[in-house]
Symmetry: D2
């Protein structure tokens, strides 16, 4: 941490700041420039920098060390590759995750999974507990849904991912799913994150609608600090002033995250755009930008889907997209499954 003092500040004020940070457990290194004296505060304690900014004579306080540790490439330089059901995610391996927004019936899941499996998809998605803005909307099948998706996935030798909504549900999810998904609205549900730190299955952590990349990585840090080293980040669009798409898909986050962190990052173009006909171009764009995977909503009959049918691909649309992505991945020197 660097503390920049105001110009022409008195020695007394400098001393008071030095005393303050020492008392908080930091060492102080003073460096006098022509305009400004700068105090380097060296130490590992967590401190709110605004507390120092309010001391007399202080102009500005600058944090040097990153707030995240375990998620950073400083802690682990090589790409983390997560393996689920024989599918690798990260480090040049791109994974396709597909399925309906919501688990509705066994037949719906069976039809969809069969087709997706034929395309080569190895990870099946589907929601059992649905976070809905309106209390009057369909809220999901619950545990019954998890049983269905597990059964269907086993039939086609697929892995399962589904969204866990609170800490008390974790044991239930451990029984049925292979990747526990954290939704955008729960990205800073810290109790849930702590609970997932104790799980020994991968966690797919969606970026919050208005979360900075730094906050997102800090949420991953929560999970890793608990002992779970298998976190998959998922970009799914941020909220901006633009309203022609549901959210604004921030694909620049891919190279930004990949520079700072060793964790794999996948993209959800379905929730980001909210519109079926935007899913294919954004999927290809995400792959070209370097995404380690895609999570795409596919429904055997989007017109009658109970939730988010408008952003779900028809199965034939998915089949075409899958082929295009396979071709693209070759040019991009990526292995796509």
């Amino acid at each position: 941490m660097l503390i920049v003092m105001q110009s022409q500040v008195s020695e007394e004020k400098i001393e008071k700041v030095v005393d303050y940070i020492k008392q908080k457990g930091f060492d102080a290194h003073i460096s006098k420039g022509e305009d400004h004296t700068v105090i380097g505060a060296v130490g590992r304690k967590v401190i709110d920098k605004r507390d120092i900014e309010l001391l007399d004579g202080v102009k500005e306080v600058i944090r040097i060390s990153s707030p995240y540790k375990l998620v950073s490439r400083v802690f682990k330089n090589s790409d983390t590759v997560i393996e689920v059901n024989g599918v690798k995610i990260g480090g040049g391996y791109t994974a396709m995750i597909a399925g309906p927004c919501t688990i509705e019936t066994y037949d719906q899941m069976e039809t969809t999974a069969k087709k997706l499996s034929e395309c080569g998809v190895k990870i099946l998605r589907g929601g059992a507990f649905k976070p809905r803005t309106s209390p009057y909307a369909f809220q999901g099948l619950g545990e019954e849904g998890l049983k269905i998706i597990r059964e269907v996935a086993d039939k086609y030798n697929m892995a399962v991912t589904s969204e866990v909504m609170e800490v008390s549900q974790i044991p239930m999810f451990e029984k049925y799913v292979d990747i526990l998904q954290v939704g955008a609205r729960n990205m800073q549900n810290f109790n849930l994150l702590k609970g997932l730190g104790e799980v020994r299955k991968p966690v797919l952590l969606k970026r919050g609608l208005c979360s900075t990349i730094e906050e997102w990585l800090m949420s991953a840090e929560y999970i890793m600090a608990g002992g779970n080293r298998e976190v998959i980040l998922c970009e799914r669009g941020i909220r901006t002033f633009e309203h022609m798409t549901r959210n604004t898909l921030d694909l620049s986050a891919i190279p930004v995250v990949q520079k700072i962190s060793h964790l794999p990052i996948v993209v959800d173009p379905s929730h980001a755009t909210g519109l079926r006909d935007k899913v294919a171009p954004m999927s290809k764009a995400a792959l070209a930008a370097g995404a380690d995977g895609l999570i795409i909503e596919v429904h055997n009959s989007p017109e009658t889907a109970l939730c988010d049918g408008a952003q779900s691909l028809h199965i034939e649309e998915y089949e075409n997209l899958h082929k295009e992505l396979l071709e693209l991945s070759k040019v991009l020197h990526k292995t796509l499954v």
Copy 2:
């Protein structure tokens, strides 16, 4: 719901749309204009309007009825006045809520509560469970903190508000606090909202960092739909591109909410600005804009506070502000306690 068809659309397409909405449980009223045929869909079902937008020949779908019911002035026209510890909130009554960000020790709470009580404050705030961005930061005293704030509040005849972080904590909070607070990060923690619908104590619902006013009201609707009619809305700043303040306090939300909803709305200028010297001007502005209350962070020693000291007022600063607000409230024809 109004369904606007594309210009020069065929009769067949119109019929298909009519069939679709009837099948979904709506009545259809067709009206042909020069350019566009408009289909009115009448009914009470919840439907994703994008599903209709994807039908052939549809140009646009427009929702007419508001998604919220119980929170709206259509359901209840007169202002809801919530009474806690003899203090009224709403309908011309403005309530002051003050206290530290975090409960640290009995002495800290005792000193602060004594002084605030002398100013005339009747509702004491203080956090026992703290949602922190970093897993390495202080996370609060937990139940021990709730015991402290209750004991101190009773000594000075004050009511207590504190933030509940998940549904399993509700019974504990019912024991100690008078107003259960939902933090901005939990505004769409729907399980928590449902749990709070069964409580018979007021809930203070903070607006999410990137939540629209409509989403905020929908979250209040969740609580009211569960049977709890005492919801206090709390504006605490939204996230924008401006970084000189922590958040952007959206004071226009006050008259906007007061037009649509009968629920009281209070303002938290401490979290919104994140800076002590901005709290007084923003408190006065909130009052002038029509806020039904203010929730302000005050600490007996902000310099040594464990959390958010930088945005906490010194007690003497609060005393001055309280006097200024009392004077202002007279000119504004409001009763401030």
Copy 3:
């Protein structure tokens, strides 16, 4: 400027950075901490800090000195008070500016100005050149409009403010108006700003829809750098995700600006909210937050206004608001004219 080197960086890399900044005209002061070596670059040159961030071994570059000079309280500590037509703006003096969005006819202006003048308003506003999003909308009366507003203002001994849209119009505006207004869309029209630097009349500079406070102050710096020291800042709402109001009025900008800069800051609640019934509460809030003035749209017949009638007050509404603001200003110890 502080250059923070990566941990365990080689001496050679440090030297290369030092050479680079010396070559760019800076002095270098090296300070070695436990983790990081920090290089202080001292000098007055303008440099893009990203250029240094890209050098080998550099972790982060931090600008210390503010980019603005003349607008800052470091350059001039006391409040700038601008006087127009005997009305003071700034330094405890609050000025009311009112009038229609657009100058339509002599009669419209005459009726409005007479009434406003009776309320005590000394500065009349009205647009002659209108920036419209659609090429098919009414674009203003042009110079004819300026003549009308000047004639009417003279009749009632009022000053005039109107929006100048490009540098070539400045001489025309100097003939007719007392305060030249820069619209939000032109806040970074640098040619216009340079032209206004040579004018010797006050400039009212609106904040851009998505401009940070820093960028806004830099635009004021452009005008002041040209020699014109009379700049009035005008907050008029920023663009956010919230759509129930046209823009989000950022009242926190008032205390933020007043801390950094000596320039007066006024508020335009009409454009910020876009809704007539939100103008009064937001005007009172702006005054309570410390605004040095208000600029409010008033129309003698908003229902038939050619532009922005929906956000214009009826004259009687303005009369009531003016009285309320006068009362408020007394409690706030401000002089309002």
Copy 4:
């Protein structure tokens, strides 16, 4: 336009609304639903819908027809293909535009143009007039710069694009450049747009930093309404809360625009990200998303560039990227020059 009346509204109020819109030049079609009466207002006049929303008994007013006409696929269904110097932009043809941010010297331009030309680039970019946030930063070479870029481009048989900053500069630009560029800050400089409507050379219109897609298309409409049918749209990032990249590149805008409008859309990944190492992944992503071209900053010595060196590619980096894009374009069935 549809006018939705409040539920249980009186006949009298409905009549008043009907009278009002007739007087404004619209026809009225009344349609009574169970809950709401809806009035269809049919006509071609421009009206502020808020004026109607303020009438007694009106619940909501909904615009049906799009505000843009000439830019829309309703006006012209087939893709507009713009040809410059034998290079096609749009309709399956993807154009590469490259060059430095700023024209500095003849040698700089000559070296850069030679290399780019060898890669196959046919359109050279370079700024002569620079809009800079700070009045103390380098402002460009002016007309001298335009002469240099023209001379160099002619030597290598390239076309030229450069940014025009105000209406008075148009004749000068017509002499030297093939494509007139409008910068993000000038997207709503309506005088400039009108001036460009009379030009008979293509205009590259950058999206404003906080402009919606609708506003952007309306600005294109200004140019087309003036008679110039050759507008190239350019997405270059929007301002959001995320600060790890300079702006957030909104690639979803590509399929959104391509659905509504026949105009070609290109992407500027250099300004969007502001960081050299993000340019390649974002260029590939833009191409995969369907962009009709890319405009990329390349400098022969980014370390010593006078402006935006940090986001400029080294020539060798560009050469590699160009090859990768060529390969990608084959898989995507696009012709890239």
